[in-house]
Every structure is written in C-alpha cells, then in structure tokens.
Amino acid sequence: MTAQALEQRELASVIGLEVHVQLETATKIFCGCSTAAAEDEEPNTRTCPVCLGLPGALPVLNEGAVEAAVKIGKALNADIPEETTFHRKNYYYPDLPKNFQITQYDAPICQDGQLEVDIRDERRIINVRRAHLEEDPGSLQHKGGSIDTADYTLVNYNRAGTPLMEIVTEPDFRSPKEVRNFLAKLEEVLEYLGVFDSTRDGSLRVDANISMVPADDVADDGSISKETLDAANRTEVKNISSHKGAEKALAYEVTRQKNAIQRGRVIEQETRHWDESRGITVSMRSKEEEKDYRYFLEADLPPLQVSDWKQQIPIPELPDARRERFREEYGLDEESASKLTSTKEVADFYEDVAESFDPDLAATWVADNLLGELNYRDMEITDVSDRLDEFKHLVELVATDDITTKNAEEIVLRQMLDDGVDPDTVIEQEGLGKADDDEIVDFVEEAIEENPDAVEDYHSGESGALNFLVGQVMQKSRGSADPGTANQLLRERLDD
C-alpha cells in the first residue's frame, strides 16, 4: 500500500464474472433424459440411473453439448484445443447426486476469447479467460425455513445433468453498468447461436468477484497492474440470476465496500449472497475454509479430439455483423438496425418481410408497429412465432393499398394481438377494406351537402376548411378512404 491511506483515495471498482448458462440441448449432458423445462414436472421424474448418480451408472458425453460449446467458442473468438478432457470436482452437497461434479479443469473446451460490448459510446473488449462444460446439480427445496434453519430439505434431480457452460471473464469490468451490458450482449449472442433460452428460469446464473482499487492506479486504457489487483481484498457475490440483478447487486456491493473502506475498515475476503428481494448482499458464513476440490481426471469419459470441430460446425451471422449489414443493405438508421437485430427471430422476420416489400415499410412495421405493440402487451416475438405469416400478410395488405396504414396500425394489428385473429377476419368484421373511388365520391357529396358553412369558408379562402371536409369524408368511410384521394376529389368538386 502506498503512503497515502486507502480511505483517503478515490476508489475504482474492479469486477470479474463467472457466468453459468444452461445450454439448449435436447438431452442432458451425460444421459438421454430430456432437458425440456422441468419446473412444472413432478419432481424426480425426468431422471435415469446416470443423472441420479446411481451406483454403477456411467456418463456418456452428449456431443450436442460439445457442439454448442464450440459454437460459443467461435462466437467468442476463443481457442479450441486439440483435445478436451473432463475432471471431477469433489465436494459434498446434497444437490450433487454423486457428491462430485463432472466439469473441465486443465483442458477446457474454450480458452482466451473475448466479447465486444458497447458501453456508453465506447466499444470495449471484455476478455474471456476460459469457458468450460459441466453438469448442473439438482435443486433443493428447504421446508420450514432457509438453508440453515429448515426442518427438512427436498431434493429434485430433474435439473441434474442439464449441460452448463461456465464462462469466466478477466477482471475487465469497471462498473456494474458494464457488467449489465456485457450480460445482455452475451445473452443476445447465445440466443443468436441457438444454444440458450433466456426466458427459462435459472438459465443464467452469475457469480461476480469485486474489489476496490485506488482510482489513480487504473491506467488510461483501463488496465490495472497485477500488484494492485493482488493487494485488493475481494468478495465473491453469488446468486445473481439476471443482468438487471447483476447491476443492482454489484452497485450495492460497490457502495458497501466504498463505505467500509472510507471508514477505515478492511474488506473481508468472503463469499456474499445476493438477496434479490431485500436488495442487499449478505455474508455467507465467513468461517467457510478455502475449498479443496481435489480435481482429477474423469476416467469414464475418454479425452475428446475436437481440433476439427471448429471448422466443421458453422455458426450464424452474429448480431454486430448483422446490424452493420442491415444498415448497408437496407439503408436503415442505427436505431432501427439495432431494434431489428435484437433477437435472431426478429431479424429473420424482418429480412423475410423486407425481401418481399419495401425495406423501409418493413422496418416501420416490424421495428415500430409490431415490436411496439408486443412490448406494450409485455410480449416477445417468440410469443407469436407461429403467427408471423399473418403479420407478413398485414404488411402486404398495406403495401398493396388494400387497407390504410392508420387502420392497419390502430385496428387490425391491435385486434390481431388482443383477440388472436388473422388480419382478413378483422378487416371483414370491421368493414375496413379500402373504399373505392366511387364510394368516396358519394361521401364527398354527402360531406358538402351536410356542411354548407365549411364550403363557404373554403371559398372565402380559409385553409382549415378543406381539412375539416377531408375529416368528414374519412369519418364516413370509417377510415377506409385514402386521405389523398378524398382531398383531391373534394377540391375537384368544390373548384368546379
């Protein structure tokens, strides 16, 4: 420590992450049991001798999980080794069927990767030290109290054996906001790869290491020397389950650590539990000794040669690249391009619509109208995945002038979402088919007859009078008249 006491110096936070993501594979990582969402299932029904850890059962590697991991490695621009191996991590915990976890140790599937993240106006590179495969434990339900005070605890092994990828970053984050942006970006990339489902409960779990260092020890490029890092005591915050939660938990922890240091206290090196409902971190019994996991090679899983996998497994265009292409290819502004690449499904749908109709019209309809109305209803595009053809048909009706934009937006789209009906049904029920010119001529006659004052005002040169009459025509047509046509026909008739 330098001569000046730490409590008198400006502080900066240093954060590194261990992110656990559940991989979307059809079956568990070492057995044939399904991985479909298990929350609603009867406990312990989605199990077999392998994931229950029964005596004599052996793990057999699901290569689908390795493929998903290789995709993540490629997206993170990470090194994939020639050969990858599995180890046992030994510790006793009631949610672990075998009292060891099969994981990776010295030959993980991914090493030295990175992810580019936009932080404020800056593009930052977050380095990923390693990412490895492992099995998820089961889940515990404490009855009659918390983990320490429960009368008894129930174990559910439905989740046990779900493939997990643990992604470990370097301590490259300087603020909780950066962590949140990184996690959002990571989720986006993983969903693009089709290996992750963020809507699934518990699909993302984050442990964060956080410490405070003197702000003037941080170099201009954000780097911090190893000596500074080693000198700082850090806490590990567990039980974070979303990117919003990560920001809140770490903001709390930054304040707590700063306050403690400013009062001259030393930060205890400990594990803290993020209590989401109370919005605080709590110490998890600091007497917990340093764990010795006694890692050793899992002989039941032979080493897997993966050197060729990187070439053989394709990955889709990732969000950053697609955003750029949308701007160039479709002439979209940054905001629209961003919205339209927010998920792979949105982007795919946009491209489908843009290929058939005008890209600008498609952008307005997908980015503003559809996503806007979905968002208003707290829905996602995934909630209407099977109805995208109907939405495309609606855009077609607008593009071919069969319905006005106003009616399409305000009546048809909303009823489609609220009532679950297709656009043709709404149009028929509401009589919204675009009025033909003969009908409009009749409405023009009626409007002129019924509003002699407005006609007089028009002739005396009052500019608002025409707009009033157009409004009347529109009303009579229940919005199905084209306002331009009404305007033109009115002028022709009045100027006669």
């Binding site: 001798p49 005596p55 004599g56 052996l58 030994n90 006793y92 009631p94 075998k98 060891f100 002989a299």
Partner: protein, 424 residues
C-alpha cells in the same frame, strides 16, 4: 446352500432366451447391478439397495440364456484380497475351509470351485478375479480395459477395473467372455473389439512357436512351492512347442505403491455418493449436513473402506496431489511403456498369479500392508490396461497355485490359447 458363505443373496433368476449359456447358472459378484435384486457390494451401506436396472453384462448373460445363481460375496466394495472385509462374513475356500478364497471376488471363485454355480462373473481392479481364481483352483480372466462394459458395475477404481469371467476351465471362461465382451453405448470407454469374438475357439491348446516372457521381478521373492509349480508349468508349455525367455520390467517394483495411490484416490470420489441421503442409514444424526454425512459414513463403511477413502482423499488433496497422485500416474505411464517394450519381443508374459498360497482365515486382516504386497503380480496388469488370465498350475502343500498369462492390449485370444495348453 452350503457353509462356504459364497453368496450374499441366493436367488435364482432364469435366462430370457435360448443361447450359448442355456442351462448354465452364473454367480454374479455383488457389485454388479441386478434389476430388482439387491446389490450390496459386501457393504452394510448398501444392505437395502435394490438397483432399478441391470448391468450390461447381466443383460447379456440373460439374453444368452444363462440363469443367475445369486449374488456372490466379496470384499467390501472390492477392497481386499481375501473376501474377509465383507460385511456379510468371510467366504471359505472350498479346497481348504480354513483358508481364504482370495479376493475380492472370493464368493464368485468359491461358488465355481465348489460347484455351487457353473460359472461366475467377478470384477478385477488389481487382481480381484485372478487372485481368487488362483486360490480356489479355477480359471479367471481380467479382460483388456474397454473390452467389457462396466455399466452397472459399482465403481471402486474406475480407471483400473474390468468385469470378467470365472470358470472351471479355460474354454468355459472364454465362452462367458464371448457373451459379455464388446462395445456398449452406455460405457464410453468400451471399444469395438470383442463385438464378434470367438474366444472359446481360441482355447485350442496350440502353443507351438509361442514365445513366453518371464519377468524376473514377478518370480523373485515368491513362495518356493509356488515358484516350483510355476516352472513346472513353463516346462510343460516348452514341451508343447513354446519357448521362454527371461525379461525385465523394472517399473513393476513401483506398481503396488502406484496402484494403491490411484485406486484409493478414485475410490474416495466413487464412494462419496454413499452419504446417508439415499443409501445407508438416513437421518436422525445430530449436526449439519457435513456432520450427518460423516455419521452415516462412519456407521455404514467397514474399516478397510474407511482406510482407503481417507488415504485416497489425502493423496488428492492440495499440497499432496503432486507428491502422490501425480507421481503414481507417472509410474503408471512407465509401467505401460515397459509392457509395450516387452511385447515387442514376446507373445505373452507369464508369472505366478499370487506369490503365496492362500492365507489362513484371519491371518492377513491385521496387517493390511502385507495384504497389499500380495497383489504385486496382479496390479501391474491393471495399471497397464492389459488382459491376463489365471489358470490352475499344480499345487503346493495341497493348495492350488495359479499361473498368470498376460497379453498385449486386446490379446485375449493369445492368453486363452496359452492357458488352454497349461490345462492339458
């Protein structure tokens, strides 16, 4: 059935179809899972454990028409050389009931030797098939690692062990091996070898032109009567057209130490799941989870199991891992290399299976180190993942002597052929 105590659970399960094992009864070692039939591993911890699934080998022997004669006694979790560490009492040697049958598959070998079963399945982690075969005067085969599926075999040291046959003759042992060998989708360490095997056909006694290597390290220091019987058997093979030469495997002097470090390390992890939650006595203990697990393990495991789990945990611990576990792995690599070099010059290697005749009951229990050293000739084979057979080769003072023949990887046919010549 008898007072040998060869079985922990006597129950007959008929075979499911006609096949090569029709009419044959098979004693199944009690660490091989049998659906609906309790599988104790010789431990009080699993006294009430009934597997919901069959081991692959059990499925295969039922499909081949074999019936199960019962679950054979064994050292607790395979940890022993005498079958005396069983929580269900020791098995007696049918040749001399004051002696041990060897172990850990002592119940399997005794059942076959006494005619209580036609055939048996054992498992061999460091000699657990070959030792009791030698002590009871029957034939036992430890297959190449990866030849026979371990799915359903309750693990003691999973990088070392294989299931294998025990039978009165080499040909019958080979027939049973034909049934159980071959790849299994449930065991990622199995290989394609053995899929269409005809090991029984190799038991033709034709050793003309066979070269036998005799590793001096595995003969020196053995009991005199055992050595005499061994050389008599080699002379017999010479008379049938084989030649022998002495070879050296300097690394095997480290085999027992390396074996016990690796086996105990793996055991400490493999046996961790037996914590009282789903196996053994559950609940009713004072304290937190860790304390409750410790009580259940204290109560459910016998002394030898505790000794090995503790030593294995120690050998894997931070600060000792490099000194013990990593060194043992180095020794294992060296031993593999020594065997590879030897097999460049000879077809099979031969040694006494056990350096001593069967112990008196109770003799070795007080001195675990002495018991571990008796495994000197068998453990190198497991460390090198090789196949070996023990075949009866005479007697010393009325007690059986076994000859061990070791083959190169997946060289089962060579050792079966050579062993069948010893029988003649």
């Amino acid at each position: 059935m008898s007072d040998l105590n060869a079985f922990i659970t006597e129950e007959t399960i008929d075979g499911e179809s006609d096949g090569p094992l029709s009419g044959k009864s098979v004693a199944v070692k009690d660490n091989i899972s049998t659906k609906g039939l309790r599988t104790t591993c010789g431990s009080a911890m699993l006294e009430d454990y009934v597997p919901p699934y069959d081991a692959t080998v059990v499925e295969r022997l039922k499909d081949a028409g074999g019936s199960i004669a019962g679950k054979a006694n064994m050292d607790e979790f395979g940890m022993g050389t005498t079958t005396e560490t069983s929580a269900y009492g020791p098995t007696k040697n049918p040749v001399d009931e004051s002696r041990v049958p060897g172990g850990s598959s002592g119940g399997s070998a005794a059942a076959v030797a006494a005619g209580e079963a036609d055939l048996a399945l054992g498992s061999d982690t460091g000699g657990s098939i070959r030792c009791p075969a030698a002590f009871c005067g029957v034939v036992g085969i430890k297959p190449t690692y990866g030849l026979v599926s371990r799915y359903g075999l309750v693990a003691y040291a999973n990088s070392l062990e294989q299931i294998g046959p025990i039978a009165p003759t080499v040909e019958e042992a080979a027939e049973l091996l034909d049934v159980v060998a071959g790849p299994d989708a449930h065991d990622g360490t199995t290989r394609d070898e053995g899929a269409d095997s005809d090991y029984a056909g190799a038991a033709d006694g034709d050793v003309d032109g066979l070269t036998i290597g005799v590793p001096t390290e595995l003969v020196d220091g053995a009991d005199e009567g055992v050595v005499d019987a061994f050389w008599d058997a080699i002379s017999e093979l010479e008379a049938q057209g084989a030649t022998y030469e002495e070879v050296s495997l300097p690394s095997v002097d480290h085999a027992v130490q390396a074996y016990y470090v690796i086996a105990m390390s793996e055991a400490s992890s493999n046996l961790a799941r037996f914590d009282g939650v789903r196996y053994g006595k559950s609940g009713g203990y004072e304290g937190n989870w860790n304390e409750s697990f410790a009580s259940a393990r204290e109560e459910g495991f016998g002394a030898e199991v505790k000794r090995r789990v503790l030593l294995g945990t120690y050998a894997l611990s931070a600060g000792y891992h490099d000194k013990y576990y990593a060194k043992a792995q180095d020794a294992r690599a060296w031993i593999k290399q020594d065997f590879d070099e030897a097999f460049a010059d000879v077809d099979v290697l031969a040694s006494p299976t056990m350096p001593v005749p069967p112990f008196e009951l109770g003799e070795s229990l007080d001195d675990p180190l002495q018991m571990y050293l008796a495994d000197a000739n068998t453990v190198p084979v497991n460390l090198a993942n090789l196949p070996a057979i023990s075949v009866p080769a005479g007697e010393t003072e009325g007690l059986p002597v076994g000859l061990q023949l070791i083959g190169p990887k997946f060289g089962e046919e060579q050792i079966i052929r050579a062993a069948s010549a010893v029988e003649q």
